[in-house]
Symmetry: C2
Subunit: 469 residues, 2 copies
Amino acid sequence: MSSQISARRLARDLGEWRSHRAAYLALADRVRVMLIDGRLASGSRLPAERELSSALQISRTTVAAAYAQLREERYLRSVRGSGSTLALPDGQRGPVQLTQELPLDFSKAAAAAYPGLPAAYQFAVEQLPHYLSHQGFDMQGLPELRSAVADHYSERGLPTTPEQVLITLGAQHALSLLTHTLHSPGERVLIEHPTYPHAIDTFLAAGARLLAMPVTSAGGWDITEGQLLIRRSAPSLGFLMPDFQNPTGASMSVEDRQRLARIAAREGTVLIADETTAQLDIDRGPLPPMASFSSSIVTIGSLGKLAWGGLRIGWIRGPKDLMAKVLRNRPAMDLGTPLVEQLASIYLLRETQLMTANRSRELRGGRDFLAAELTEHFPQWKLQLPDGGMSLWINTGDISSSALALAARSEGLAIVPGPRFGLEGAFERFLRIPFTYSREDLKEGVGALLRASHTAGSIPSKLPLQAVI
Amino acid sequence: MSSQISARRLARDLGEWRSHRAAYLALADRVRVMLIDGRLASGSRLPAERELSSALQISRTTVAAAYAQLREERYLRSVRGSGSTLALPDGQRGPVQLTQELPLDFSKAAAAAYPGLPAAYQFAVEQLPHYLSHQGFDMQGLPELRSAVADHYSERGLPTTPEQVLITLGAQHALSLLTHTLHSPGERVLIEHPTYPHAIDTFLAAGARLLAMPVTSAGGWDITEGQLLIRRSAPSLGFLMPDFQNPTGASMSVEDRQRLARIAAREGTVLIADETTAQLDIDRGPLPPMASFSSSIVTIGSLGKLAWGGLRIGWIRGPKDLMAKVLRNRPAMDLGTPLVEQLASIYLLRETQLMTANRSRELRGGRDFLAAELTEHFPQWKLQLPDGGMSLWINTGDISSSALALAARSEGLAIVPGPRFGLEGAFERFLRIPFTYSREDLKEGVGALLRASHTAGSIPSKLPLQAVI
């Protein structure tokens, strides 16, 4: 399936693509970085030169030169009769592979494993013999694990029974299961803007039309806009990270939780509260879970951030009826959650307090160190110190984050530019930098960014700033 | 999302629903079993009584009585203004849960764990510390594991590099990833008929229109029909289990593999060869892998059947370019394969020969024992002894397998009726019985079927036999 990208869509998604470089090079740069970071799909076809030149209001010669440049660099292949097809040069296999090749990978907001992990897996292996005489397929989750997850919600003030919990292969898998259960192609989905890139991927893959509710590091959510969007467009789903939002680090106030829960319940929009980051508290303290404000709110969570990304256990917490529906849809996607992973998770959930304290200490150190480094080397960048989460969401002022991310690659650093977290080229002046790396790596990464910023240059000042700051 | 079932579709899918019971009870029975085994979705709305009576050419009183019966049993809820909605009574959560409640569960063709499994996980736990300093997210699979899978194909005469292998969360997950990558809603997919039920689920969830190529235990594949369907309807995908097909147990001849591979390559249909059952050989011996006949054929495999269902490791083997595309699509569904599962799999793949020999011995015993039991107690049933796989595919003559499965539930036995393996109510006179259970369980299961067959009664002889025998 190779798809045609329309000139209008490309013009919109390119965002502020101009730089200090010649226009054809700036255009080629932007297309290349969008291909590398996944905003444009390998195998899709670029619009005809004439159409793009008209959509961008630039000369056809410039577009032709940009395409020639991309062809020269092997990012574009021209096949007679089927136009110009985007392609990653051999050996470059999308963001995952690309970043693995670079010495420093700042593309993931995730940390090293909790030190108790080997003991958890050892426990799992010891328990295993009790389970081997069964066939092992487990679509719903072990009763002990579902109890442990339920208890963890009850302790946070949200009474929960094991029947309200379904164990999944991580929170992203949970989101995908929920989307396939609750959403039909063509329906609308409300997202935070910016939001987690792979949530956008999940909704777009399910044929959703996205509605963006702005959120900023300093100001939090534009709930009035969210209410308006829900009332006007009746989205089937809304996707939120109310605690230490990824990427902004913002936390939703109790009042805003109430307001959003109320309107969603009234209009029949199912809110999915993604709590994968909820336990990454540095200096905020607990807030009531989103789901405590309405029984129709569905929560997803996981052990990926708190324990380890190599442990793939997440869950859905919601109404019993919904769990039954998800369970029915699941076999079309996968046949269940591995038992050893579940057994290890039973052990780990007993150590939630220890894990949380351990992570909090690490995160505080990383956050403060990175903020100090950035303040020293990029005094013109604006950042709001978050009180939790795993990354800083930085306003880079007149530096284009796509250009910076591209230049950083030459310096050996993989980093995801701002627009990957938004729609239609937004957040070109924003950059997410995770602080979950060692001090050495953070120092080296900031150095690479500094060198890259000299190459990348600034966005021409005649261009308007993005609406969302 | 509650969907309306049209009278025409229901009439078609009901198949041969009449039994020796009064018509309204027979109709209620059939709807109930279709709800229980997943052919009808909980939450969907039945057609209006008048429409169904016209589609089935029976009196409206009969339909009304059937609906009343279902309502009485709490399988149907009538809400003013929104018709009659199917529902599983509280506590019944679809096939997975339902079967867990019964003493004997013959719904899965899967076996107990390979005895070497604890050692494999112990190995994994010992290797784990080398991986804990990384973030652990692994979308592609560990290089060592991909090498081991590649070697396993090369040894079978299909030269393979690690770049051609992507590790997944089991074969069903692999199928789902491939379907989302290679198929667009509305396109056609060629399936074997009968086939694995959850493959049907995956294709229907992706909006596919299915084309059925007949396959039988004794006669194998109707390749001429398959060729015709591919030529006429140009399906995007074809899904095959060429070795010990589930449920028929048939193996495709070398000549048929060649013929099918040739036409698919010519017409641009991507064939997916599901080899999850390929190593369940009892007395056949090796045949060349499907993919050795065309470089465009994609193979999926897993350790689920050979090692254990609680170990969720599968893979895709195909062209390098395709792996890159799948990798791009994967984050919309999940964020990777657990590392401990992968490490255990590296250990297990070294023992492939041992695992295969072990499984083969078990399967031979189970097959011969079950066949003898059935021949003794159901002399009128026709069965072809398969030379591999995990189940018998039995022609039950004039006994309706849906009625039998329903009656068996009262005897404490969960079993999947024939129509779950096909389209439009086909295979009502077929039953799949896995022989992977202990002799005690098999004996008890056959006893339960025998008692159930007295209650279930036979299909009235005036009805025509199914086309596919």
